[in-house]
């Protein structure tokens, strides 16, 4: 009998995340890593030539190789637009999308040019910020084990309005994180333009969306000190999991 191998912490977390959200009926959705400018930006209410484009440094494909402007997705949010579009007639919906995303940014111990994000979305009648707060609390209580408190601060992401930054603190357990507010993610109520462009009537339906870095969760959950180690294939790293 061989000694078993070690699972990568990212896929281990993705599986845990999926098991927590599947209990609530959140569908694990997929989308392409090579994404059109249309879905990555335009459909998310990030217009061309608008300063909000600067919030994400983008890798582009060569014009000769593609029929329309195409990027390596800068976030998992285009999957929101794709999923709403294909499920506009099947509301209410709950969806998560964990996946790899890319940013054309200098790397350091807390930033990689490629990393994993978790997108979450719920759309239905009467959905409000309180549902967002409750769902995030539920997730972290199960993911970290223990009581958590979630707070919102104002934030800006073009595809939500209102937009919030989400902080969390652990209220129980013996983690050294206990009691400290930790910046977790961006979230908010899906912008009416995004709903409308996906074929959903914003006067009748509302929804929340959230997006967080899974790498950051790894830092928080396991105490990883350099996120770049996640993507080197170095077993001195992986074998600790």
């Amino acid at each position: 009998m061989r000694t078993p191998g070690h699972q990568h912490p990212i896929t281990r977390m993705v599986t845990e995340i999926n098991s927590i959200f599947a209990e609530l009926g959140f569908v694990f959705a997929d989308g392409p890593e090579v994404e059109s400018e249309h879905y990555n930006f335009d459909r998310l209410n990030v217009p061309k030539n608008h300063p909000s484009r600067d919030m994400q440094d983008t890798f582009w494909f060569k014009d000769d190789d593609v029929a329309e402007a195409t990027v390596l997705r800068t976030h998992t949010s285009p999957v929101q637009a794709r999923y709403m579009e294909s499920h506009a007639e099947q509301l209410p919906i709950r969806m998560i999308c964990p996946g790899k995303v890319f940013r054309n940014e200098a790397t350091d111990a807390t930033h990689e040019a490629q990393f994993f994000q978790l997108e979450g979305l719920e759309v239905g009648e009467g959905i409000h910020l309180g549902h967002l707060k409750g769902t995030i609390e539920y997730f972290f209580e199960h993911f970290l084990g223990g009581d958590v408190e979630v707070r919102f601060r104002p934030g800006f992401f073009p595809f939500v309005e209102p937009g919030v930054e989400v902080d969390m603190r652990l209220l129980s357990g013996d983690s050294n994180l206990k009691g400290k507010w930790i910046e977790l993610m961006g979230a908010g109520m899906v912008h009416p333009n995004v709903l409308r462009d996906s074929g959903i009537d914003p006067q009748k339906y509302s929804g929340y969306a959230f997006g967080m870095g899974i790498d950051r969760l790894a830092v928080m959950k396991y105490g990883i000190n350099d996120v770049r180690d996640l993507y080197t294939g170095d077993l001195r790293f992986v074998n600790q999991f």
Binding site: N18, G25, V34, G130, K133
Partner: protein
């Protein structure tokens, strides 16, 4: 953006707030707080102003206004409170060719000023927010821009040619190949000469049709203010944000002025700006305002938005009374009319970002405070049929199988130095392409890790990855998920001994998936299986088109159960080389190996990172045990003598127990 607390207090008046209170309120109700720092006689708060508020809050007054809205205490002094009355001027003419690109342009004439040093209070203000004082005229224009957000440019009137007694500005688009001389960039002495494409908006001296600045982006040195200047023309205008942004991006110019123009400050700021800057110059440099020309052909009316109070509470999850909503909106500076069950809201004129109902819902939510939003626990719901993610399911099946077969999982870089699909803008020269396969990454991963086998305590190195690969298609860029696994027996490279391990793995994968990948898949080959799934198998590495493979498999009905393992606390690993030492000894036949291992470990000290037993046999009533000890430091490369010293301690301890080192 840096905020000076002293400056803010000019607007707030008497306040019981401390800088720390203000920072906290801003952080919880308005902006992301980056930091707060005590400086000499001031406190500087650093806030991150995002694109939605860059139109009105890239300035000190905007921040003060936010505090007033949050606390409900109006500003004691607000430079934007009353529409200024300015004398008119007939000596300056402005010709705007495109009023969409330049909806408003104003210029004022001041005579009798004296250029000199700024007073200390002004220098302190500018220095507090990281600006370098230059002279009283430049400092005044900068001060007003940082105070209320509207960029300003000053010219020496004597150096600006007149035609028939009038100064003549024109604003027009550039002609192709037209050249503009710009002020030197920060830290440089030379003017930058820009050759236009025709999309750039220019400010022109109409007397000679000479471009004197790239509108909204950067000014030129034309008619620059100097020590002897006595009469000045002060220009302040509104340029289309997209026109400005396109030119600024193309030329890579991001300065305080262009950043503000790109974010569309209100057009109504222009007269306030002229009033503020001419008054400040008169105060600190003397001179009198002769008059102002203000060309503003098409006025923009403030936006009126209808708000349904029911929707406000429905989106925020609150139960605010309508009167509370009205109060919060009025604190923003909005004008509110109650119309039966709806609110008609006119935005404060400086808030160009408020356009739709949801914008106001956010304003109400954040001013009231998101701490009032009560969490609603989610109700469980079953997963919709046919919405199981087959990729996730089968990836998990593969992980369970491969982990059990001794493979560890890696996630490697999607970028490569050379491959099929090239990026337009790469991060680095060794990351220009996207991977078209995982085989190369897995091979390199084996190369790196095979030399760690002793450290990791493994006989061979086994890794796998499930990840996306990219290739060119006839219509664009294609991608699919690939699964690759590899075995390496020797650090020196592929030896041929790996194939048996891979072949066995294919068998267990087939069992787990219910597939019949050919076993063994023809070594050193690539091709497709009977069901059309592409694979390649070379030098101990097997790669399969996983996306295609999944399509041949049944849709899953439930995810695998997730076992929650023990909590893991990661320890940073040492990047220094490790050293191994083998020890073998005779012990009594009944002596258990773990007793020996315990003794070895006790005496090996803190540099030991692993002990692996590699040998055991019994002969003539004695047992021989062999162990490999691995030593590594977190701080340095170990020397032989350091490790030898540890081994001496171990030899002594072993001998004292009566065991005979071989």
């Amino acid at each position: 953006m840096l905020v000076s607390w002293n400056w803010i207090k000019d607007y707030l008046g008497d306040t019981t707030l401390t800088a720390a209170d203000a920072a906290n309120l801003l952080g919880m109700h308005a902006f992301e707080l980056e930091g707060i720092e005590e400086t000499d006689g001031d406190t500087v708060i650093d806030v991150d102003i995002l694109p939605n508020r860059s139109s009105d809050c890239l300035c000190q007054r905007g921040i003060a206004r936010e505090l007033a809205s949050i606390t409900g205490t109006p500003l004691a002094h607000d430079p934007l409170a009353t529409q200024p009355e300015l004398p008119s001027c007939t000596d300056i003419l402005v010709d705007i060719a495109d009023t969409n690109a330049c909806p408003r342009f104003s210029a004022s004439l001041m005579r009798g000023i004296a250029v000199g040093e700024s007073p200390q209070w002004l220098k302190d203000r500018l220095e507090a927010i990281g600006q370098r004082p230059i002279n009283n005229i430049v400092d005044a224009t900068n001060y007003v821009m940082f105070a209320i957000g509207q960029p300003i440019h000053a010219y020496d009137a004597a150096l600006f040619p007149q035609v028939d007694g009038a100064w003549r500005f024109a604003v027009r688009f550039a002609r192709a190949e037209e050249q503009v001389k710009l002020l030197p960039e920060a830290g440089k002495d030379e003017e930058r000469v820009v050759t236009c494409q025709g999309t750039e908006l220019l400010i022109v001296d109409q007397s000679s049709d000479t471009p004197i600045g790239l509108a909204g982006v950067k000014g030129g040195s034309f008619a620059g203010v100097h020590d002897g200047t006595t009469d000045i023309i002060i220009e302040t205008a509104h340029f289309h944000p997209t026109v400005t942004r396109k030119t600024a991006r193309r030329l890579g110019i991001v300065i305080d002025a262009s950043k503000r123009f790109e974010n569309e400050p209100s057009r109504e700021l222009i007269p306030y700006t002229q009033a503020e800057v001419t008054k400040l110059i008169a105060d600190i440099a003397g001179g009198t305002l002769e008059g102002v020309v203000d060309v503003y052909p098409e006025h923009v009316e403030p936006v009126t938005t209808t708000i349904d109070p029911v929707r406000v509470n429905a989106l925020l999850g609150l139960s605010l009374a309508v009167t509370d909503m009205v109060t919060l909106l009025e604190r923003l500076g909005a004008t509110v009319h109650r119309d039966t069950d709806k609110l008609e809201v006119i935005s404060p004129w400086e808030r160009t970002d408020l356009a739709i109902e949801e914008d106001y819902i956010e304003e109400i939510g954040r001013l009231h405070g998101y701490q009032h939003v009560q969490a609603v626990a989610p109700t469980p719901r079953s997963l919709p049929e046919m919405e199981m993610n087959a990729r996730q399911y089968y990836s998990e099946v593969m992980r369970h199988t491969l982990l059990a077969a001794g493979f560890s999982e890696v996630i490697t870089s999607s970028f490569r130095k050379k491959d099929e699909v090239q990026l337009k803008n790469a991060l680095a020269s060794d990351k220009r392409y996207l991977r078209s396969n995982l085989t190369k990454n897995i091979t390199e991963t084996l190369d790196t890790n095979a030399s760690f086998a002793d450290l990791l305590g493994t006989n061979d190195t086994r890794v796998f990855e499930i990840g996306t690969v990219f290739h060119k298609t006839e219509t664009g860029i294609g991608e699919h998920v690939s699964l690759a696994l590899g075995v390496r027996v020797k650090p020196s490279g592929y030896s041929g001994k790996e194939d048996a391990g891979v072949d066995q793995t294919i068998e267990v994968m087939n069992e787990a998936l219910g597939t019949n990948l050919p076993t063994p898949i023809n070594a050193h080959a690539s091709g497709t299986t009977k069901t059309g799934v592409a694979f390649r198998y070379e030098k101990g590495v097997l790669e399969i088109d996983f996306t295609h493979l999944i399509k041949t498999l049944p849709q899953p009905e439930a995810y695998l159960p997730v076992t929650v393992g023990e909590a893991i606390q990661y320890q940073p690993f040492s990047t220094y080389p490790y050293v191994t030492r083998d020890i073998a000894m005779w012990v009594g036949e009944s002596t258990p190996a773990n007793e020996v291992e315990t003794l070895l470990n006790e005496h090996a000290g803190s540099l030991r990172v692993r002990t692996t037993q590699f040998d055991e046999f019994t002969k003539d009533g004695r047992t021989s045990l062999g162990f490999r000890l691995v030593f590594q430091s977190k701080e340095k490369t170990l020397t032989d003598s350091e490790v030898n010293a540890v081994m001496e301690t171990i030899y002594t301890a072993v001998s004292e127990r009566g065991w005979e080192v071989r």
